[in-house]
Structure formats: structure tokens, C-alpha cells
């Protein structure tokens, strides 16, 4: 279970303070909605460790994540854009998510191939990122998150289930591709037991993902 306990955060030179308090059960998906400026993306950045709260605690299975660097947290994150390094090919982009040095075990390599095939991008290993469509690019990023989550799950004994943080990654896709990608996330949650948090503006996403919705109120 992920617990965000009375977490407070303010951006420098801004008066308003954001306040978050929520729990996300294991093996579930949660959709975070709310008006612009309510702090949806900030919440994910705090969980991921890109931002440091001024107060409160973030716990994963009872253990505090505070003080851990993003790479030491049980997270995989997808952003709205710039998820991939455009100068690297598909395979290298995925492989770097598993090992930043680029070295892969045979098991991980097999897992990448299988996941690519599952998501309909098999055979694109050496394709350059700019030659892919928006949907294909997001699926490459999804494969990286999926494989990273599963490899971490297998090797990091202290971490029970990886956490998938999705910061509006599908908002720019056409409806069909978006539904397809959300289906993949739902499958990742159901089949591999991941816990996913999706930030979105679209209320239909929750239904497609079969997720509860958490509304953030604008900061006072």
C-alpha cells in the first residue's frame, strides 16, 4: 500500500501550499483528477522523489521513501512527453530503464522482446525514435516501465510491488491508441500486480482503467 501522509509542499516564490493525504491499495489503479494548478503532477513528482516535501511522509508498505533518490524508489514513471531519448533506438531506450550502464541479463532481454511483442511493437528494436508515431513512442515507454517494474520485482526482494506513475502520458494520443494504451496499463495492474496512479484531465480514463478517482481541490 502507498500512503501519502499529510504531505505539504510549496514551490519557491509561491505563497500557496499544496497538501496531499491519500492511500492507494496494492494491485490497484487510481486516477488523480483536478483543476489545473491543483498539484496533480506535483503529487507524482513528490512520490517519485523529484521534489522534496516540506512536511509529511510517503510510505510504501510501511517503509518511508523519504530521503531515497528516485532510482532507489520502487517507481517507474511515464511523462506526458519526452519519455524517450530521441538519439537512441527503441532497444537502447528500453534497456537503459533496466540498467543505466546498458548491460542486460539474458532473462531481461527475453522479457523486453516478449513485452514488445505483447504491445504490438515487436520487430522495432532498432528503429529510431523520431520515426515512430506518438502511440508507438508511448508504447515503447510503457514497455520500459513494464519491464523495469517486473525486473525490479524479481530482483529487489525488499520491495513488494513496483509503482507505476503516469503523468498524462496518453493525453496527446488519438482515442483508439489511448484506449489501447490504457488497456495495457490495466493489464499490467491485473496480470502483474502493479500499482498505478494516473494523472488525467479526462474523466473517461477512470472507466477505461477500471480505477477509483481521487479529486484534488485547488490549493487555498
Amino acid at each position: 500500500m502507498l500512503e501519502v501522509i499529510d504531505v505539504r509542499f510549496s514551490y519557491p516564490n509561491q505563497d500557496q501550499q499544496l497538501h496531499f493525504h491519500l492511500t492507494v491499495p496494492d494491485h490497484s489503479a487510481l486516477v488523480v483528477a483536478g483543476a489545473s494548478g491543483s498539484g496533480k503532477s506535483t503529487l507524482l513528482a513528490l512520490i517519485a522523489g523529484f521534489l522534496t516535501p516540506s512536511a509529511g511522509d510517503i510510505r510504501w508498505h510501511g517503509a518511508s521513501l523519504m530521503g531515497l533518490s528516485p532510482s532507489d524508489r520502487p517507481i517507474s514513471m511515464l511523462f506526458q512527453n519526452d519519455n524517450l531519448f530521441p538519439h537512441l533506438d527503441v532497444w537502447t531506450n528500453i534497456a537503459l530503464g533496466i540498467n543505466a550502464g546498458g548491460r542486460l541479463s539474458p532473462d531481461s532481454a527475453v522479457l523486453i522482446r516478449e513485452s514488445m511483442a505483447d504491445l504490438g511493437i515487436g520487430g522495432m528494436e532498432t528503429r529510431a525514435i523520431p520515426t515512430l508515431s506518438g502511440g508507438q513512442q508511448q508504447r515503447v515507454a510503457l514497455v520500459r516501465a513494464l519491464v523495469r517494474a517486473r525486473v525490479h520485482h524479481e530482483h529487489q526482494a525488499g520491495i513488494a510491488r513496483p509503482l507505476l506513475l503516469l503523468d498524462e502520458p496518453f493525453s496527446a494520443l488519438d482515442p483508439e491508441t489511448k484506449e489501447n494504451c490504457l488497456g495495457v496499463v490495466r493489464q499490467m495492474v491485473n496480470q502483474f500486480g502493479l500499482t498505478a496512479i494516473l494523472v488525467t484531465h479526462d474523466p473517461n480514463d477512470a472507466a477505461m482503467l477500471g480505477a477509483d478517482v481521487f479529486f484534488l481541490k485547488p490549493a487555498a
Binding site: 517519485a48 522523489g49 523529484f50 533518490s69 528516485p70 532510482s71 532507489d72 517507481i75 517507474s76 514513471m77 511523462f79 512527453n81 519526452d82 519519455n83 531519448f85 538519439h87 537512441l88 537503459l96 530503464g97 543505466a100 550502464g101
Partner: protein, 479 residues
């Protein structure tokens, strides 16, 4: 901002600044002398002569390190924030971050920039002349100058000039093949805004410390010579130099040439850019092939001056005109011409990118409403391009003011410029006089650059066709 200094500080001033620290009468040797006077039993040896290869290399680092920073830093800052976040999420080490993110960002510019720096150093004149310390450390340009002014061996000068031109054209060929090379210069000279964020900062305190040390070292390297020069220049001989008629005559010549060059270059760059736009807009009328040829010819003719050193150009003028006119009488005109030709490619490059974008964006609107000629120029072009126009004016004025190139060939007792006067004072070991002249030159250069900045701001002021008086008249008519 400090890195921008290297583009406006004249080479003669920088050389004087370096001498003010490392030279025989520099700050360090003065400190050693004072220490020796205080220490009775120990004698600290003075620094050996600064002139030679090490001085030339240090001076070229002074000018080219900022160029590298100004090209590489925007590229690193253009890496999306999410890529740095991904690096942190993936747990990349600093080396892995360099390998996967930073190097790919700067790689396209690395080779072209090295080529550009090579070109600058290869065609270096004033720094080598002032700091080389004799014939052992020289360049083709210095040899051409020596052949004309000292040995008066015109055959040798022609031979060296031809060699320089051949090399210059070979480099031009490479430059035209590599589009990034053409981008390197405008990126380097455009004003840089300080980064709003510090995503580049290494998370490791040790590496952050190393980064800080390197940055501090560069700041010291850039600022210290200028500070030493100010201290030396504002002391001793400043009043004597300020009251000399020679200085004011040289100043008058330099400022006149600087302002005239700035005016010509700014105008010529705008006309060239507009012409380039018109050719590209008329592609369908001219045909693809013809347009392509015209564009290549035009770009090459503008670019060629970028790689032709002033001395080469001056030698060509000297040889061409000496049979028909007294070159020393028409020296001001020749210096002006050389400055205009050499500044034009940089000015054109600075202007063309944004000019093309602006004109292609609003061409249909201009056509639809018939906003052509001066009206379009005043209300549509100038406000958008004001920053660049001001920058070009200031930069060209500063460059021309500080140039010690063609003037070295044509200077005489009747026609001197401030850099030439400074060079002569330094050559006669009048160190304090040279330092004072260098400070004056530096201040005038900064003022001219500021003038360009002010011009840019003035041009950017909103221009409205609204006149309150028109409304009053209109209302009165109705009543």
C-alpha cells in the same frame, strides 16, 4: 554575461590585460619585488618572460573558451527536463549521464566548433603579433604583415596570401558541407540568458565542488586580466595619455570607422536577409534548381569573408590599389571596407534565422493587406527584429573599434586608430601608457556595445497608428 566579454573586448586589450598580470612589469612580478624587499634572506625569482607560445595559447583560450561555453550551454539547457528526471529515475552515474544525455546533446556541435576555433586561431593576428615575442612564434597573417610593413617583400606577401586563401577556401568547403558549422557562430554571439534552473548540477557534492572550481577558474581567467589592466591603466599615465592630442585623433578615427561600419553592416545584413527571403518566396517562379543555385551563391559570397582574415583582405587591397592610388591616403576607406566585409557574415548569420521565420509567417498577411515597403518594415519587421538589429549594431561597432587587422598595413603618422596606438605603445615597452590606452579603448568599446543595446530597446518600443487627436477630429466631424 562574462562569456560575452570575449566578443567585445578587443584583442589588443586582452593582450594588454594578460601582460598586466604575467608580464615583466605585471602584477605578479610587482608582488614578487615587494616580497623580496620585505624578505631579507630569501629571494623569490621573478617570472620568466611571458612572451612566446604560452602567452599566445593563454590568450587564445581567453577568447575561445567563452565561445565554447556559449555554444554548448544552450544545447545542454535544451535537453528536456524529463530526460534529467529519467536519468535520476534510472540511477545513472555522472559518467552514464554524460554518455547517454550530455554528450549526445553537444556532439553535433563539437566538431564544427573545434573547426571554428581552429579557424580563429589559425588566422590569428593581433594576439600573435603582440604576445608572440618574435619570429619564432608566428602565423601566416603576421608573416604577411612583416613582408609588407617590415621587409617590403611583396612577392612573399602575395605567396603567403595565396596560401592563406587556398586554406581558407578549403575550410569554407567543409563549412558549407556542415550545416552545424554555420549555426555555431550565431549561437555563440547571441546574448545568453542565465539558466532558470539548475538541472545540470551533479547530485554528488564532490562533483558539484569540482564543477564550481572549474567555473571559478574560468571566471578568474576572464576577469583577472581586465581587473589588473584597470588597476594599471587608471594609475600612472592615465592623465598624460588623456591629454595627448594623438589619443583624441586616434579616438576620432576609430569611433568614426566603428559607427560607419555598424551602420553599413546593419543595413547590408538586413537587405541581404530580405533578399534571401524574397528568393525563397519566389521558388515557384524561379524554379527549384535556379533558386537553389542562387541561394548557395549568395550564402557562399556572404560566408567567404568569415574565413578571409583581415590581413589577407588588406593585402589584396594593397596590391590592387597601390598602382592607381596612394593606399595610405585612402586608408580610412580601406579599413572601413575591410571591417564591413568581415562583420557582414556574422551579422547576416545573426539575422537570417529569425528574419526568415518572421517573414514566412506573416507573408500571407502582408500580401492580403498590401502592407509592403517601408510601412511593413517599420510596423512589422523592426519591432520583431529589434533585439537582433541592436545587437548587430553594437557588436559591429565594438568589433570595428577594437580591430587591429587591416590598420596594421595602412596606418601612418596621418592616420592612426586607437588599437594601433595601443600596439605601438606596447611595442615600445611604454607599459603604463599602453595600459591607460587599453582601459580607454575598453571603455569606448563597452559604450558602443551599450549604444547598440539601447538602439535595440528603442526600436522595440511599441509603434501604434492610434492617435488620440484623430479620434477628437472624427468626433467633431460627426457633431
Amino acid at each position: 554575461m562574462l562569456t560575452g566579454l570575449a566578443f567585445v573586448i578587443p584583442t589588443t586589450v586582452a593582450a594588454s590585460g594578460l601582460l598586466a598580470i604575467w608580464g615583466r612589469h605585471g602584477v605578479i612580478n610587482q608582488g614578487i619585488d615587494q616580497a623580496n624587499a620585505l624578505l631579507p634572506f630569501v629571494t623569490i625569482p621573478e617570472l620568466p618572460s611571458f612572451f612566446g607560445v604560452k602567452a599566445v595559447i593563454l590568450a587564445h583560450i581567453f577568447f575561445n573558451a567563452p565561445l565554447m561555453i556559449r555554444v554548448f550551454l544552450p544545447r545542454l539547457l535544451s535537453v528536456p527536463d524529463n530526460h534529467w528526471r529519467l536519468a535520476r529515475m534510472m540511477g545513472m552515474t555522472p559518467f552514464q549521464q554524460f554518455h547517454w544525455i550530455e554528450w549526445p546533446a553537444i556532439k553535433p556541435m563539437a566538431l564544427p566548433l573545434m573547426g571554428l576555433v581552429f579557424l580563429f586561431c589559425f588566422s590569428s593576428f593581433a594576439l600573435v603579433l603582440m604576445l608572440g615575442g618574435g619570429p619564432r612564434v608566428t602565423t601566416l597573417e603576421v608573416e604577411i604583415y612583416a613582408a609588407i610593413r617590415i621587409a617590403f617583400d611583396l612577392d612573399l606577401a602575395v605567396g603567403l596570401t595565396v596560401l592563406q586563401v587556398v586554406i581558407a577556401f578549403a575550410v569554407l568547403g567543409v563549412m558549407m558541407l556542415h550545416p552545424m558549422m554555420r549555426q555555431a557562430m550565431p549561437q555563440a554571439v547571441m546574448p545568453m540568458r542565465p539558466p532558470a534552473r539548475f538541472m545540470l548540477a551533479s547530485p554528488s557534492p564532490l562533483l558539484r565542488g569540482v564543477d564550481m572550481l572549474v567555473v571559478l577558474g574560468l571566471v578568474v581567467m576572464l576577469v583577472l586580466p581586465l581587473l589588473a589592466l584597470m588597476v594599471k591603466g587608471l594609475g600612472g599615465e592615465m592623465i598624460a595619455v588623456m591629454t595627448s592630442t594623438k589619443l583624441w585623433r586616434a579616438m576620432g578615427n576609430s569611433v568614426s570607422i566603428a559607427l560607419a561600419s555598424a551602420l553599413f553592416v546593419t543595413g547590408a545584413a538586413m537587405v541581404s536577409a530580405e533578399w534571401r527571403v524574397l528568393v525563397s518566396l519566389k521558388t515557384t517562379q524561379l524554379g527549384q534548381h535556379k533558386t537553389q543555385i542562387m541561394l548557395i551563391l549568395m550564402e557562399s559570397s556572404v560566408m567567404v569573408y568569415l574565413i578571409l582574415p583581415a590581413i589577407v583582405m588588406g593585402t589584396a587591397w594593397f596590391i590592387l590599389l597601390r598602382g592607381v592610388a596612394n593606399v595610405f591616403v585612402i586608408a580610412p576607406f580601406l579599413v572601413l571596407m575591410a571591417n564591413v566585409m568581415m562583420a557582414l557574415p556574422v551579422a547576416y548569420r545573426l539575422l537570417i534565422g529569425k528574419w526568415m521565420t518572421m517573414r514566412h509567417q506573416d507573408e500571407r498577411l502582408r500580401l492580403a493587406y498590401g502592407i509592403r515597403g517601408m510601412r511593413g518594415f517599420r510596423y512589422l519587421t523592426i519591432p520583431v527584429m529589434s533585439r537582433e538589429i541592436g545587437l548587430i549594431f553594437g557588436m559591429v561597432a565594438a568589433m570595428s573599434m577594437g580591430d587591429l587587422g587591416v590598420i596594421a598595413l595602412f596606418a601612418s603618422a596621418d592616420f592612426e586608430t586607437l588599437p594601433w596606438l595601443l600596439f605601438q605603445q606596447a611595442g615600445r615597452y611604454r607599459v603604463d601608457e599602453a595600459a591607460a590606452t587599453a582601459v580607454i579603448l575598453m571603455l569606448v568599446v563597452v559604450m558602443l556595445f551599450g549604444l547598440g543595446h539601447g538602439l535595440g530597446r528603442w526600436l522595440s518600443l511599441p509603434r501604434s497608428l492610434y492617435r488620440a487627436s484623430d479620434m477628437t477630429t472624427h468626433a467633431t466631424d460627426h457633431s
